[in-house]
């Protein structure tokens, strides 16, 4: 299957500190790809690179990057794709809406800019969008200011805005952090449904392995600025190749089942820390000398891809 978005060797530096150290990933049509990792792994930076939302001091480079089969330059996404072909759902919905304008105006402005609609037509469409995110009284929400709406409702509005440009890809960055559990479940379900209804694909950035298991078809696990393991959610949760991904899942599962989690010693490296050839090697229970000295090879096994010298499988065959 040809990928909708394909990234190879994405690197980002901010003031000389490497933030992304060669990210490879692809989002396939119709799927939701989860991007997980701990603080500083580069999840949000990856999304921001694609959306051209990097801080001014950042410098970006990559080997190849295609979107829907065409070459795509992340640093020029502003003109080409952001909002239009790629929709964005932010982490802090209330903070992302303009507090001094009514919600309706904000959706109408987006529609007029992205789809060149006339004012009246845009209002009709804005109400439709509010209905499509399951808002039962779109007229009232249309006239509301963001502070008059609950956090869950603001996030629905942000999803409506993300849909305004009829995007092919929707990137959501921790869309439910800070929302209550019952609201989180509704928003995640809604996100999955609208992505399917609009024949789009999704990229969901989160640190919550429960959220990934609930809504994602495939998962990319990031560590210290790289995707170190990528595969279907079922595969990654059953038997992730990379020891880090494997242990992360097993910690979450054992907490969930009341078992004692196996500790990962040490902590996540900060940008600028000196790294071994495999950044996870100092914390890895399978690490040997080659992990410290040689770049880990890219291996493909049964649909999973991982960078690792000693993956968790007996028939590891490098490609």
């Amino acid at each position: 299957m040809s990928a909708l978005l394909e990234l190879h060797g994405l690197e980002v530096e901010i003031e000389g500190l490497p933030i992304l150290r060669g990210v490879d990933l692809e989002v396939r049509p119709g799927e939701i790809l989860g991007v997980v990792g701990e603080t500083g792994a580069g999840k949000s930076m990856t999304a921001r690179s694609i959306l051209d939302l990097l801080p001014a001091k950042a410098s970006l480079s990559f080997d190849t990057c295609t979107f829907a089969g065409e070459d795509f330059i992340p640093a020029r996404a502003r003109q080409l794709a952001r909002g239009h072909r790629i929709g964005f759902v932010p982490q802090r919905p209330r903070g992302s809406l303009n507090p001094v304008f009514r919600v309706g105006k904000q959706i109408v402005d987006t529609l007029r800019r992205l789809r060149g609609m006339a004012r009246r037509e845009a209002k009709e469409e804005a109400l439709n969008l509010l209905r499509s995110v399951r808002i039962t009284d779109p007229e009232r929400v249309y006239r509301s200011y963001p502070h008059e709406l609950s956090g869950g409702m603001c996030q629905r509005v942000c999803i409506a805005i993300a849909l305004a440009g009829e995007p092919e890809l929707i990137i959501a960055d921790e869309p439910t952090t800070g929302l209550d559990v019952t609201i989180q479940a509704e928003i995640l379900k809604l996100l999955g449904e609208v992505i399917a209804e609009h024949n789009a694909a999704g990229m969901l950035i989160t640190h919550d392995l429960g959220v990934v298991a609930d809504v994602c078809d495939r998962v990319a696990v990031m560590y210290a600025g790289r995707v170190i393991n990528l595969g279907t959610t079922l595969e990654i949760y059953r038997e992730a190749l990379h020891p880090y991904a494997n242990q992360l899942v097993s910690i979450a599962s054992s907490l969930d089942s009341g078992g004692t989690p196996r500790e990962i010693p040490g902590r996540v490296p900060n940008p600028g820390d000196e790294l071994a050839a495999c950044a996870f090697a100092p914390r890895c229970f399978r690490a040997e000398d080659d992990c410290f000295g040689e770049e880990p090879p890219l291996i493909h096994i049964e649909g999973q891809m991982a960078f690792c010298h000693h993956p968790l499988t007996s028939e590891a065959a490098s490609v």
Partner: protein
């Protein structure tokens, strides 16, 4: 279900905040409403609920950081509800707290050693000199090294800062430690390290924990007992395993079904509650869930629901489920 040996016994604990709603008008917000729970030594009671449920107000009441409007608090058999002055200060060494944000809860101007020594200096009249030795031992116990005593909070990682917070809470050997979302700002791999540390400290010292959290995965792991709060009321309580396995209150049910689990074969379900949590000010006089509850009947609107025991220790405040 309370005995004389319980570490903490709350009876009908209530906190009402008077909220100004106009120039001459005000409304009463029942942040914590008739809460009765207890914790025995060496056990963990998890209090779960969404924002606005009163979890944090409950913790502040227990620690006597704010004064209750009604009800009583007994710590190790002593009534501390109205305790004041020196007596209360002495009691504070017996009850400690670990906060959610490890950095915010440490003074940026104090060394780690000074921070950890402070409870000893305040509650046990120790000098900084005398405290050096126990502080070093405590730091080692929480997985830091005695050298960390000279460091400042900004030199620590989030996990290390939380270990300092734990060392500070444990150094007076308290009977009760309130853990207010102690792992929710930490990364997954660090989260499990902190949970294991808390668990081993509890086993070693027979401490009672009041664990406040909205993360049901963590609660499932660490809690012995569970109290579910909604708009200031405990709507269900009991042994954690039992409540997780067979929730009876419609709110508990909805909460558990909505919580995602790290298992791709498990799917969450949300279609249980109507709308969103109202403000505690707009609460119906009867069941707090009235208006959102899928099984509510007219009588629920103005008939207050009391907790009723349905199985050993498992209590639920819903007449339709008892």
């Amino acid at each position: 279900m309370t005995g004389p040996s319980d570490t903490l016994v709350l009876r009908d604990l209530t906190k009402i905040f008077r909220i100004k709603t106009g120039s001459f008008r005000h409304a009463d917000l029942r942040a914590v409403d008739d809460v009765s729970v207890s914790i025995t030594p060496g056990r963990t009671l998890a209090v779960v609920g969404e924002s606005g449920s009163g979890k944090t107000t409950l913790a502040r009441l227990i620690l006597r950081l704010i004064d209750p409007t009604g009800g009583s608090i007994r710590l190790e058999g002593t009534d501390i509800t109205r305790m004041k002055g020196a007596a209360l200060e002495d009691m504070r060494g017996r009850m400690q707290i670990v906060f959610q944000d490890p950095y915010d809860s440490l003074s940026p101007w104090q060394t780690v050693g000074r921070t950890v020594a402070e409870p000893l200096i305040l509650h046990e009249n120790m000098s900084m000199q005398d405290a050096t030795e126990p502080v070093a031992r405590m730091l080692e116990r929480v997985g830091l090294s005695p050298e960390h005593a000279r460091r400042y909070p900004h030199e620590l990682s989030g996990g290390q800062a939380q270990r300092v917070g734990i060392a500070r809470a444990m150094i007076t050997n308290p009977a009760l430690v309130v853990l207010d979302e102690p792992t929710s700002s930490l990364d997954m791999s660090v989260q499990s390290q902190i949970l294991l540390l808390l668990q081993s400290l509890q086993e070693e010292r027979n401490i009672s924990y009041l664990f406040i959290s909205h993360d049901l995965t963590v609660v499932r792991y660490i809690a012995h007992d569970l109290a579910v709060m909604y708009l200031g009321k405990v709507v269900e309580s009991g042994p954690a395993a039992e409540v997780f396995a067979s929730p009876r209150h419609p709110y508990t049910e909805a909460l558990l079904k909505a919580a995602p689990r790290p298992d791709p074969h498990y799917k969450t379900d949300h279609v249980h509650l109507l709308g969103e949590q109202p403000s505690a000010l707009d609460r119906a006089p009867g069941c707090p869930l009235y208006g959102r509850c899928p099984i509510a009947e007219d009588v629920c609107a103005d008939t207050p629901q009391e907790l009723v025991e349905i199985e050993a220790g498992h209590r639920v405040a819903c007449w339709k489920r008892t």
